[in-house]
Subunit: 359 residues, 2 copies
Amino acid sequence: MTNTIRVEDMQPIARGAAMLGTGGGGDPHLGRLLAEAALREHGDVELVALADLPDDAVVVPVAMMGAPTVMVEKLPTVEQLEGAVRSICTYLGVTPTHIGCMEAGGVNSTLPVVAAAKLGLPLLDADGMGRAFPELQMVLPTLVGARATPMSITDEKGNSGVLDTVDNHWAERIARSVTIDMGCSAMVSLYVMTGAVAKAGMVPATLSLCRELGELAAPGHAGAVSAVVERLGGRQVFVGKVVDVQRRTVTGFARGDAEIQGLDECAGSTGRLRFQNEHIIVEVDDELQVTAPDLIIVLDAETGEPITTEGMRFGHRVRVIAAPCDERWHSPEGIALVGPRYFGYDTDPLRWHGKAGDA
Amino acid sequence: MTNTIRVEDMQPIARGAAMLGTGGGGDPHLGRLLAEAALREHGDVELVALADLPDDAVVVPVAMMGAPTVMVEKLPTVEQLEGAVRSICTYLGVTPTHIGCMEAGGVNSTLPVVAAAKLGLPLLDADGMGRAFPELQMVLPTLVGARATPMSITDEKGNSGVLDTVDNHWAERIARSVTIDMGCSAMVSLYVMTGAVAKAGMVPATLSLCRELGELAAPGHAGAVSAVVERLGGRQVFVGKVVDVQRRTVTGFARGDAEIQGLDECAGSTGRLRFQNEHIIVEVDDELQVTAPDLIIVLDAETGEPITTEGMRFGHRVRVIAAPCDERWHSPEGIALVGPRYFGYDTDPLRWHGKAGDA
């Protein structure tokens, strides 16, 4: 079955990606505009299912690295994205067969579309995490031994680099510093992998899922929130009004928390979201409800429009929904990479069904 | 005339390099030990005069980047040096014909000997500045348009990178961040240049000069200080006892200043040295005497042994001598790169003859 991404798909993909972004991952609206322009100029992009990928395929993922609070002011360019892909392929001496996506949540769902359109390559319908996470080693391919490096990094001024590190944590550390020098946002091409590794490590069909979620929550669609909840196999955790948001940009990340005053069925209760680029924890009346790696998604209470952590404002009426992550994230290795303790919260992760401590 | 570097040359080279290091550039003693081991294992290194270099030679300089205060605790390895050279040559697709030295002052005079011995390549008898300076764009080849990048950077853990930046200041900025991540000291291979560019931009015969200065100041050599002063065409600025040293490591640099109580002909006066890795300014009784880019060198008052900024201690009896830098540093472009204002001191550079403001 042929599956393509056309200009008109970018609006739902961006909306669905903002949901999987769990509050972070950068505003996909900006990537959507770039992708629409690239699709208009270069034509549709073929979306290839993970199962259809040849084992010897050369998958070259591309992504933006940096702080979402900066991304909204400093747009990437098509040349920068193309430069990142070309630079790593030249360094490795490989010819890419497919563009890949490492993070279906947020802007990084849309930027691979730009690169695929510009380079005339098919795009793999998969991603590295099934959501968004703030650091580059936080992808399921890390769990099957895939290496982030050699990776390329480029800025809009023309600076670029290729890094080759001893592990994916070192890749994160050094690339983060370079990103900060480059103005807190940079384009990276990393985790270049064969089709066989992609099939072992990636999460299937997540770009299609973005599109589907976006269509379910199309503007004016009654029951958008419950349709999204049902599609994700999730549940509503809280409904209320945002009454306080604290955020600060620390070492390249947007950290903070938000307080929500309960409404309707949650009247009299207080919800609290804690985030580091993405929502990591949601509490109701000081009791943990859901933690990373499961998905915590904030939607406009009426329209179902996803709200990013940098977009949250006093007075917003929101529904906080949650959904299970890819099951591999709940392995001990997965929890070590992306559990609440990694983000500095002194708590075991909750399993999706709600009991603590059995991850 | 064939000129070689043998094991027994390393002691004088290291001593002379510490003089040209003008207090910084890293303690060459450590590089000397590595170079002696490499020369013992791989044989003598041929030293090629700048004038004898073919125009189409491929000169590959290698250096250590980082804070001298850290260098003394974190030795580089031969593999790291070799890795830096191989990495940039592979990236550029070139075969090196000569190893180069960018900084004759300090440890960076000795590390190219290690690389040349290990790789079996001749070493160019020249450097990029005729002294030591703390940032990588501060070399005379910058003034003739030579590019620092593409450059490689490696650490002792096995992390490496290749950077390609829009100018040499960006190379410094990004490489400095990577160096800090790598533990405040890293090996770099940069300013890969043809023989023609080397002849246009490098300072000739500075490694030979290091050896000659080191021989003049050999242990037990009476009149060492005046012999060195004469060879450099310099003068003694101050003699006294170190009574206070303030130093701090800031953004990867060793900054500070030292107060010297005058003795002998300087009795009753107070000398002050201001340094950022290297000595930038010397004042006597609050009056400027010498400034960068001219050379400010601190020697043990009796033995003539050079003293680095990190080696200065209360009670040291020292002679502060000064010598003219390569004349090209006094051009407006040179002063913009390495004049006192660049280092944060609100003063015009003094010309060597002592009058202010006519640089």
